[in-house]
Assembly symmetry: C2
Homo-oligomer: 766 residues x 2
Amino acid sequence: MNNYKVDEWKIIEETFEPQRVKGSESIFSIGNGMMGQRANFEEDYSGEMLRGSYIAGVYYPDKTRVGWWKNGYPEYFAKVLNSANFIGIRVKVNGEPIDLSQNKVVSFSRILDMQHGLLQRSFVVELRNGGKIEIVAERFMSMARPEIAAISYSVCALDCDSIVAVEGYVDGDVVNEDSNYNEKFWDEVAKSATSRGGYLVMKTKKLDFNVCWNMSLEYSIDGAEMPAKAISIEREKYVSNSVEFNLKKNQTLTVNKYVAVTSTLNHPFENLVSKSDEILSKAALDSYAVLKNEHINKWLDKWQHADIVIEGDAEAQQGIRFNIFQLFQTYTGEDERLNIGPKGFTGEKYGGSTYWDTEAYCLPFYMSTAGEHVARQLLIYRYRQLDKAIENAAKLGFTDGAALFPMVTMNGEECHNEWEITFEEIHRNGAIAYAIKRYIDYTGDKGYLTEYGLEVLVGISRFWAQRITWSDERQKYVMLGVTGPNEYENNVNNNWYTNYLAVWTLKYTAEAISYVNNTDASTWAAIKGRISFKEDAELAKWADIVAKMHFPYNEKLGVIMQQDGFMDKEQILVKDLDPSQRPLNQKWSWDRILRSVFIKQADVLQGVYFFENDFDLETIRKNFDFYEQRTVHESSLSPCVHSILACKIGDMERAKTMYLRTARLDLDDYNKEVNEGLHITSMAGSWMSVVEGFGGLRIKNDTLYFNPFIPDNWKSLAFKVIFRGRTIKAKFEGGKTILTNESEQPLSVMVKDATICIPANSTIGV
Amino acid sequence: MNNYKVDEWKIIEETFEPQRVKGSESIFSIGNGMMGQRANFEEDYSGEMLRGSYIAGVYYPDKTRVGWWKNGYPEYFAKVLNSANFIGIRVKVNGEPIDLSQNKVVSFSRILDMQHGLLQRSFVVELRNGGKIEIVAERFMSMARPEIAAISYSVCALDCDSIVAVEGYVDGDVVNEDSNYNEKFWDEVAKSATSRGGYLVMKTKKLDFNVCWNMSLEYSIDGAEMPAKAISIEREKYVSNSVEFNLKKNQTLTVNKYVAVTSTLNHPFENLVSKSDEILSKAALDSYAVLKNEHINKWLDKWQHADIVIEGDAEAQQGIRFNIFQLFQTYTGEDERLNIGPKGFTGEKYGGSTYWDTEAYCLPFYMSTAGEHVARQLLIYRYRQLDKAIENAAKLGFTDGAALFPMVTMNGEECHNEWEITFEEIHRNGAIAYAIKRYIDYTGDKGYLTEYGLEVLVGISRFWAQRITWSDERQKYVMLGVTGPNEYENNVNNNWYTNYLAVWTLKYTAEAISYVNNTDASTWAAIKGRISFKEDAELAKWADIVAKMHFPYNEKLGVIMQQDGFMDKEQILVKDLDPSQRPLNQKWSWDRILRSVFIKQADVLQGVYFFENDFDLETIRKNFDFYEQRTVHESSLSPCVHSILACKIGDMERAKTMYLRTARLDLDDYNKEVNEGLHITSMAGSWMSVVEGFGGLRIKNDTLYFNPFIPDNWKSLAFKVIFRGRTIKAKFEGGKTILTNESEQPLSVMVKDATICIPANSTIGV
């Protein structure tokens, strides 16, 4: 099943297969949080590919496209913008283009060196005249200088003297694959090509993002610098330098290409070019080797804090490192304006926007590995969009400060335009509330409530209180017309997960109000005034809903029901499905999927995972057994939750299967869609499945708690978490838990039932 | 509320109001079944308008547009094609264009003369120099020569001698307002402008429909023919003749414009121009007066057969005549390839395609007024598309000859692309089966089953048998994930109407099999072989479903439930709705509409209407009372059914209110959307509400039955129906029923409980 060689630190591709190009472009993607790109080739490639290069925070409000307009739909769908191809190095040898789609490929190898953050490629092609050419290329987006990318690209004629022409370029004439009306989104602003480089400034047709790509090129033969006389070329949205060398047999021409990418997100427009000139000359002066070294050190430092080491299972090891690597490439936590798009910089589907994935999946990873301030920043991102969430709810008919956070957003405005998602997949609102609890439980930072959290909670609670209606017939509150996390069901009544999360939000908000009122009455009074909170009436209404909410449950089975009427479906199990019919979303009509019992992703189990303390082990086991048998995991967000619950109930077999499915989802392309990009946000779920699943990490009464459950074939598992100012390393090996406190403060932790105090800078084994 | 003057035979507009232009363009539409157009002005109009001219059967498979693709969606959406503007006569007086949007309007009048099929307009404008110009225009699409349109257009300078320039043209550079990607759908093929006319041949970019528009122009001043020297102009997709006259004060220039429209639907490509030349010269030679007279006679003849006369209520009278007039303009029943689009030739929304409206609403009207052969032809239209319906079902995962007829189609292929409609609004399949029963009940033509009907019924029954699934939980059959006629609910379980119709289809098909087998065993054997019918197994399965189907019902209320869980909704009534919130579909978010109790159109009541004999009067009354209070009638197809049922239960007040709502829906613009076009198919519903509602017409055991129930303020009601070869006129006046048999054969009919034999060519009063 593996498309790539299993290696603990590298992703390795050893053959060239045209049908795998788009998938590998996703897998080998590189980025540095500020920009990122698919692993397109530097030289021309005329085969099927998806050229993609993206800049964090630079997006486009593309005119929306719907079949039939419905009231409440947003006017635009914001998408991460495919931007200039700046890696381009066109190569011709004796007039024949190097193009893996056209040349005879003799050998090919591509490596993603995750430890050092490098994309390396080498290949030999045979040209029409029989001559063989070897190309060796390496590139990275600098983690040390986030506006710098560097490429080292070498050409060697193995058989005979050759004329090698190279043209390094920046090409801004790009189009988003997912452009709704095949429109291009960029206009040229300025450009200039010199004999050793050139820049291009482009501007987005809407929102006025300006970006400058500035390149500098240097040439050497067998290490000796060549003061080449390049021809500078300027065309519409295009600058390049073209140069020819007479290469002796076995001589190697190396082109170093440095690119600075500056944008008006970070610089005033008038400085864009000068700033890029400045950092570009500095980079070129420092040299490729220095840039590379700095970059590697940054990566080594990240690994130092965030690595997970699994001994004894190279597949499991490779999977988790791939996930951590891609997460840090996508979002470093250093820019509060940014968030984490489901596909990061590896594809266009889902538009690079913010989804509930951030709160439900990504928050714990960044909180534990990058630090509490990053988690806080992710929460504040939503706080800043509260007004837009209130406007969004108002558009749907809600009043009095009810807030519905968008399903998909760049700036707080809703982008998605399927009614069953946009209007109905409202559990996302609950996940945003739950993230506040999770953050406070982990960090102990209850002050966050007073400062930011409470207003968000009240807005969400007000939404629930209006969205939930009273059924005279049942004498219960109900929530009609929703879509749960399982998107293979739409417009259902009383999705248990949504109902549960809503009721929990109401309770938690009431507690939070009481906490803020008790600790800082004047702030509460100020908030109350600002949001016109009718304390008695609103709290009474919430309490009534909490007391009288309907939760679907099947007495006979003793199992929570995903929604009303779930048992009316034909109860076929996943094991009975013909494998040729999977993934269902590619093989079945939507109609058939909706009517079937099959579940796309954890739904009831997502709730059981969030609120595990509310259920005894037997209940968890029953529900897990029931739903796992019906879940096809065609959402990337599903297997991690199942893996954690499987650990919880001691089902090692399924825990491991589900872990591999989440950690190696893209590497092994379980859902046959890796060509579209990677599943970045679910990679944080893989991290959770190791740390919370196998490590059994929880926070119990402000205390770090471990309940390890390690697969038999794993010699050991080790990871670190940052917890309340301490870095704690946990290693599980041979039934023992070895905890190292890498900080200057002692910490009490629990391992199963035992409470242990680990002194500063010490290791204790249990 | 009336926008137009109430008149029994005319629609009259007496003022010019720019904001009403688009609505009036719809209302005053004219057509002749072969072509039709909105009532655009001949002269230029630079204000907001929707120019639209359509040719029956000429459509375009526009590339579909969806927000998010779902498996099973069709690749294209076929739309009726906006085609060349051939009415155009550009007028300039002393260099100033006549343009109601720019000129000062002194007076304006527009009349749709329904009795004679004429669109007439006259207006006076004051130009910048103070001179007043009077325009008098009349046009029609000939009912006698369906490829001919004729316009008489007069200009008179009321105040002073003037130079009048007129340019009669054909302009093929048109675009569909609903083009998904703003593409134009026509290419020019040929053109030629002469000094007295010109032609333009255009071809659709897909499907290769070729159409020739050929015009001939004649000019006269105060009745004296003017041998004008026109300049002929040819541009891309455009031909015209431009000519100037020096008009003395009070002289009238009249331009007669004759247009022949020929298409490859009816002629070989190579004859298009010569054929149009031929019929055009004949028309011009015959003269405008002769053409007009022929046309009027055709209309008088239609009215002779199809008129409904309501004495004592001019609004009611005008409404029904408007409906009948528009129905005959849209579809005459003479071309078996055609069908009835929901908006006919009056707008672009709904694409001019075939919907279930044809079977559920239009069939009875055409059957009773145009004849049984037309109804048969409409049924055969679907029979010819059975293979495509089977393919369509297969695309969704159904097997073994199950047929799902499309929601929207031009040629049998599905066009619609909302999953909740395309995949789920499957009750349409039942309506197609029910139309067969209705046709046979009315005509007695049971042979239709053997010839065509049975295969359609089996295909539909096979679909139901697979679409319905067994619920272990309920120990009943259920039908999950459907949308009923009430499209303000999507993806519900066990829509009662759909369940009922499905079970009825299974029973009726079994009976039909038995009938064909008993009357013509060899044909049944042949059909059985052809469709691989597993008689025992399939019939047994159907019988099991019939015996064990679940039908939602509320015991406490004694009311049928529209779907599972209907009573969980907040039970607010229409009377409690703030009028400013209506129509809901323009004021509320889709989300709010879906969750609300409000019903777009008859759903349970559609079933009660179809199967009224299955329910006692008390049940009908209870269900009517329950659902009428919750129905907002925002589908045009709703009030007619409510009106008929209100008659049935003797609720005259509601019957009349609902009748006016259906018959005057567009005239009074109840749903605030007449600017988009007229609701043609629901106009047949208005006919039903008169004939079946007030007239109480039914077929009971092969006998025509009347049960009249006439509003107090109606002095009399009279209509004719064609029934089994006889034309029967029924007049209801002063509590009496007067029946005239206008045929050569006697006929027994029932009036309430009495059976009466009316001899040939006789009248009997009861």
